[in-house]
């Protein structure tokens, strides 16, 4: 989780990712961020987030995103 928070705050140092749960709904992450995130998560955790998982629910908070990574790691 710490590593994910690091990746996220590299993208947006001004956001408190432990608290924020509206990353997509409030437009904090844009499509550029999503694409960079997916590639960095792929490098860091060796999981591929495919198109069907790219929905607001999975990207609105660091927690939700981490849950997705854990789920994909198990598969």
């Amino acid at each position: 989780m710490d590593r994910l928070l690091e990746i996220l705050s590299d993208l947006h140092p001004e956001i408190d990712f432990e608290e924020c749960t509206t990353l997509i709904d409030d437009g904090i992450l844009d499509s550029f961020d999503i694409v960079s995130l997916i590639s960095e998560i792929n490098e860091e955790y060796d999981v591929v987030i495919s198109a069907e998982y790219i929905v607001p629910e999975n990207f609105n908070s660091a927690e939700a995103l981490y849950a997705l990574i854990e789920k994909l790691e198990e598969e």
């Binding site: 590299d10 993208l11 947006h12 140092p13 001004e14 997509i24 992450l29 844009d30 499509s31 550029f32 999503i34 694409v35 960079s36 997916i38 591929v48 987030i49 495919s50 198109a51 069907e52 790219i54 929905v55 607001p56 990207f59």
Partner: protein, 504 residues
């Protein structure tokens, strides 16, 4: 001869008044509604005595925003679109340049408009779009229209920190639309899926051909460009068959393996541009939709949108780049060397009707880029110097080589790194800074010296710059890197970034 862009609308409303013209995911306007609301707004401007002057359109992306543009033209004025997400500081710079008397808003933007430093009166679209048209006044305005009168000003990044407003007239837009429609074979069955913002010239590709043919344009919700599966499902649901998108919107779909799950069913024309298309991603698109036409478009805002095209009819090898091709009919491309002579490789300069009027209220900047054709000393003839270096291949097709300056293309946006630097340097606590662009990572990287943490810096910068201009990565340095002759060493900064990337 047609000399007015709204002649398209007057003709089409007779042919298919009840057809859907512009729509979003929820609602839309028919040609008849567009026509009536356009004339209502034109009438309102006339009654206010607003004529031959800029009118701000400050609205969220919506079919009504497009009708507001047309309404401004109907009134004999030119529209200046402003993005609702743009920081107030930047909007104030634009308002100071344009000095408008009227601003058309929607219910959401009208509140923000109150914060602006301007004398302009803010009116609600809904209050001016349903009036009885004054046919006689509108006919008189139309009769007096000249095709070299401006119809819009759109603002583009300026290297000194102040955005530049490019003004374009009926004639150059008509020329562009006619050539573009020929090249991309639009017709009455075209269903556009618009991606580009309405505050740039890029949306001309959908707006005016929709009027010309009685086609339909869907404004795709911005949020879908983060959700590839839903985006393709939207294309299929609306039976969208034509897209003119920036490359990054297309690669977002292909790079996330969306095609394994869903494929665009109706799409037969894909125009792209503004950036280099990564070959792997292009080939993915091309193999997924082998029957579709793929066309690379090239052109600066100053050349009224696009001025060159290339039909990408084959797969490409890694390391190849997709040419920018040949100029549209009625446009000539000159490649000029440092001595202003024709060269095999040189600065790409545009000659023809498509050259826009210049930068609004900015004669100095206009003089630098809109220049007398150096090959013609016999009579006045303006060409536009793009600052792009290009070359020709054996087939005579143009290829983009590089930029002469620090202008970059990032996520389809044209950005002067100098504009970012000027705004960073103006922040308290900053001693000096420099921006570089990593093409491999597609990231704007900021290096700065000063007493300021990254989070505060980015927060402060948000009040000055649009989001797409914010640095994607930054580092605080103890001292700036300089070349032996005292200039900021951008090559060394970029090397530092690439090295850092490899080690982490």
């Amino acid at each position: 001869m047609q000399n007015h862009v709204l002649d398209y609308l007057d003709d089409i409303v007779k042919k298919c008044p009840d057809k859907l013209a512009f729509a979003n995911e929820k609602e839309g306007l028919t040609f008849k509604e567009v026509y009536e609301q356009t004339r209502s707004i034109g009438t309102y401007l006339h009654k206010q005595g607003i004529y031959k002057e800029p009118v701000i359109v400050f609205m969220n992306k919506h079919p009504k925003t497009i009708t507001a543009f047309f309404g401004v033209i109907e009134g004999g004025c030119f529209y200046v679109p402003i993005d609702e997400q743009m920081p107030v500081a930047r909007i104030n710079l634009i308002l100071d340049n344009v000095k408008p008397r009227l601003m058309i808003c929607d219910e959401k933007t009208v509140k923000r408009a109150a914060e602006f430093e301007t004398q302009a009166k803010a009116v609600l679209y809904e209050d001016i779009a349903h009036l009885q048209a004054d046919d006689e006044a509108l006919r008189e305005i139309r009769d007096k229209a000249i095709d070299t009168d401006p119809i819009y000003i759109v603002f583009t990044s300026g290297s000194t920190g102040v955005p530049k407003g490019v003004a374009a007239c009926h004639r150059s837009v008509l020329d562009y639309i006619e050539q573009l429609c020929d090249v991309l074979k639009f017709n009455e069955n075209t269903v556009f899926g618009n991606q580009t913002p309405l505050y740039f010239d890029a949306c001309l590709k959908e707006l005016y051909p929709t009027l010309k043919f009685g086609a339909t344009t869907y404004l795709i919700p911005k949020g879908l460009f983060m959700m590839p599966l839903k985006l393709v499902e939207f294309l299929n649901e609306k039976k969208i068959n034509t897209v003119c998108w920036v490359v990054s919107a297309l690669t977002m779909i292909s790079s996330l393996n969306t095609f394994e799950k869903v494929v665009p069913q109706y799409l037969h024309t894909i125009a792209f541009g503004s950036e280099v298309f990564p070959i792997k991603q292009f080939n993915l698109w091309k193999t997924t939709l082998p029957e579709a036409d793929f066309v690379n478009l090239y052109g600066p805002t100053e050349g009224t949108g696009m001025c060159c095209y290339y039909r990408a009819e084959r797969l490409f090898e890694e390391g190849e780049s997709i040419p920018i091709g040949r100029p549209f009919k009625n446009t000539e491309i000159l490649l000029l060397d440092e001595n202003n002579r024709l060269a095999d490789t040189g600065e790409l300069c545009i000659r023809g009707t498509s050259v826009t009027l210049g930068y609004y209220n900015n004669p100095e900047k206009t003089k630098e880029a809109y220049v007398q054709n150096p090959l013609n000393t016999a009579y006045p003839e303006i060409i536009y110097r793009t600052g792009d270096i290009a070359t020709r291949n054996e087939a005579g097709e143009l290829l983009f080589v590089s930029r002469k300056d620090y202008q970059i293309k990032h996520m389809g946006h044209r950005i002067e790194l100098g504009e970012i630097e000027a705004n960073v340097n103006a922040l308290t606590g900053i001693k000096t800074c420099a921006c570089v662009y990593s093409k491999t990572d597609e990231k704007i990287v900021l290096y700065y010296v000063g007493d300021k943490d990254k989070a505060t810096l980015i927060k402060d910068l948000r009040d000055k710059l649009p989001r797409y201009m914010l640095p994607n990565d930054m580092e605080c340095l103890d001292a700036m890197l300089y070349t032996p002759n005292g200039k900021i060493d951008r090559k060394a900064l970029l090397a530092r970034y690439e090295e850092m990337k490899q080690t982490c």
